[in-house]
């Protein structure tokens, strides 16, 4: 069993070119898909009448601020992306269905941002959360029956829906069903460190270099470690437009 995470510009390319099915056809095993879509939302903000709101973390990272109205648009756009993925796969004879409502998260009560005086400040956390649970039963049921469940980065928590990180959501989905492989499809063909690609690494090594890795990839690595700790056998980070078997492979122990 395999879980594939698709997000960022790769996701937009898949939707545009309607070629996600080629990736699925290469695989010969049951698969679940977790998608992201923050990029998509920002790139299509106008058409959804959405004014992106961002805050800056003390580390200087700009991130979406999910207030109440953002949450509503966020969940609608994630569901739209989900539907497009399912439609694209069905169109090519691949049985896929939307499966949502299986993720639970803890709402972040507070976020630390840099305010206009460039000083750290705690603000209401809005509607983001940290994934804490993925129900394996519906996922495994559908996979066993030959369907690809397609899962959005929306979780329930604190009496609301929450915007959750799709990398971490994928880690929990994979961990909960004890997937053999969790694959992050990205626009680079693996993890680069000191100008060369890392073909194979264990979690101890990944932890040791984590602080030198740029934003975006570092989140994938943290999610990879979580997935492996939950019992996933290996994590791969690769580009769908290169050989899926290439890229970076991470295991608990080499």
């Amino acid at each position: 069993m395999k879980v594939i995470k698709i997000g960022g510009s790769i996701l937009e390319k898949f939707l545009e070119n309607d070629n996600l099915y080629t990736v699925i056809e290469e695989l010969n095993e049951p698969v679940a898909i977790v998608h992201g879509g923050g990029n998509y939302l920002d790139n299509h903000a106008d058409s959804f009448n959405y004014s992106p709101k961002f805050v800056t973390s003390p580390e200087g990272i700009r991130s979406r601020y999910t207030d109440r109205s953002t949450l509503e648009i966020f969940t609608m756009v994630m569901n739209l992306i989900n539907q497009k993925i399912v439609l694209n796969l069905n169109r090519h004879g691949i049985k896929a269905v939307t499966l949502n409502g299986i993720l639970k998260a803890r709402r972040k009560e507070r976020l630390i941002i840099l305010n206009e005086n460039n000083r750290k400040m705690a603000i209401d956390g809005g509607y983001t959360g940290r994934v804490e649970y993925s129900d394996p039963i519906p996922v495994r049921n559908l996979m066993d029956a030959g369907y690809i469940p397609v899962i959005s980065p929306v979780a329930f928590g604190g009496d609301s829906c929450l915007n959750v990180d799709a990398d971490r959501a994928a880690a929990y989905v994979a961990g909960s069903i004890k997937a053999d492989t969790l694959t992050f499809l990205t626009n680079v063909n693996g993890l680069y460190y000191e100008d060369k690609i890392i073909e194979k690494a264990d979690t101890a090594y990944i932890k040791s270099i984590l602080k030198y890795i740029g934003n975006g990839m570092d989140k994938k690595l943290m999610a990879s470690i979580e997935a492996l700790e939950m019992g996933v056998k290996q994590v791969t980070i690769s580009s769908p437009f290169h050989n899926l078997e290439n890229g970076t492979v991470i295991c608990n122990e080499l």
């Binding site: 939302l41 005086n117 400040m121 603000i123 915007n163």
Partner: protein, 57 residues
């Protein structure tokens, strides 16, 4: 403005344009605080929660 560290009792200076919610640190013991309220010159503080990164999509 200023306030006093709840741990070591040292003075912590607070910029005049500070806002409720801003985080300040005790220069003496390193304890982190969040400004709970500002009334005139009286700055109330509470221990800052430890907040990890989790921003969603």
């Amino acid at each position: 403005m200023e306030t006093k560290c709840k741990i070591c009792g040292e003075k912590i200076s607070v910029p005049d344009d500070s806002m409720v919610g801003e985080l300040i640190e005790c220069g003496s013991c390193g304890m982190s605080y969040e400004i709970a309220s500002i009334k005139g010159d009286i700055v109330e503080i509470k221990p800052a929660e430890n907040v990890g990164e989790d921003w969603g999509e």
